[in-house]
Amino acid sequence: MQEITFNLNGEEVTVEVEPKDTLLRVLREKLFLTGTKMGCEESECGACTVILDSRPVNSCTVPAAKVHGKTVVTIEGISKNGELDPLQEAFIEAGAVQCGFCTPGVILSAKAILDRCENPDEEQIRDELSGHLCRCTGYLQFYDAIRIAVKKLQEQKTEK
């Protein structure tokens, strides 16, 4: 066992891990953040996506020890004080959630796009979401949701 410390959803956490433990397992089984889903566990489906130092990655193939000293954001970290992130609201409004299994990962990839680009075009969105499998929605609702979120974020900005 080895102790690692990293920033998780804005707070420093310290946890004991085995060198072979994946970030996915540590998040779910040691830190009890089960919003990050365990799907294929071989980097194919995107259900386990988290944001590592501003970039979405598949936590199922990241050794937990690798994030020592780094910053990780999971789906639990994007709502604040019980209020949903505009992206989460947009996913509800667009009907982009059905069974919900892929949703946390997709929302985090979408968040990573919007953090880098205020108004992404369709190709950018398709490209950035291409590492997610969704068996319910048919993907088009993700695109609608992101468009709604772009609007919400722009409105928030003008209000400020």
């Binding site: 060198p19 979405p56 990655v57 598949n58 050794p63 590492g131």
Partner: protein, 300 residues
Amino acid sequence: MRIEKYLYPTSAEEAVRMLEDYQGEAMIMAGGTDLVLWIKEGKREPSALVDIDGIKELHSVLIQENEIILGAGVTHAEVAENRELKKRVKCLTDGCRSVGSPQIRNIATVGGNIVSAQPAADSTVNFVALGAECEIVSAEGRRRVPVEQLFLGVGKSALNPGRELMTKIYIPLPACPYATSFQRLAPRNSLALPIVNVAAYLAEKDGRIAEARIVASPVAVTPFRLRQAEQYLTGKQVSEKGLAAAAGQLAHDEANPRDSLLRGSGEYRKVLVQDLVTKAVEEILGKLLRGGAEHAGNNV
């Protein structure tokens, strides 16, 4: 076997010392997108993991007039998004953009892709086509090796990740005009290994093709140089008609991909090699003729 320790060196030399401490039983951990899976499947059983993230020189991108020096720990996303690299080595940025998915490209490293030595890798064919060399550090010191010589077989690299670390990749840029192309066909655009990919590089001097490197994969156990097509093109006038089709035909005759349940029949993939080589050479010649070369002096 149990992995005893996860280590964080801050220099290449320290990393190699750590590897030596474990007498070849430890392994370098770069992005982990291959290695973590192999450990889970029991295909690799290292006794310790040596993480490269803290080694600064592995993460730098240096663009000079006559060469590009890429840190081996640079990610595929970093290469794919770099506009200055796209101007100079378009095949490489296109190839890196084809690897896996965004989540994989965000962490998988170009050095790792070379060392993994998978025959279908979309970035490595480009390093071979570009005539790249890499720097390797071991307990004996640093040495430079052509990337092409690192591939020994499927998953077999001449670099021993239990003793050695790749630090840099050197891509030479000629003083004369040149252009590159990366072509690929896969069942779908994301998260699919290529049925065939082709990387090509042609350089021009005084209206003639002065240098040609054309590489296809996975048509053999290692990236495959289409030497007959290369030889045919070398010395030809850039403006000569029918060059691309003739190079494609030679590539067709030269490549000998096997029948694969995953990728299609050998005969089908031979035709694909022909088509992709023709397309790549056509694209490059078009660029050279229209003055759209990726000349190192361009846009600096």
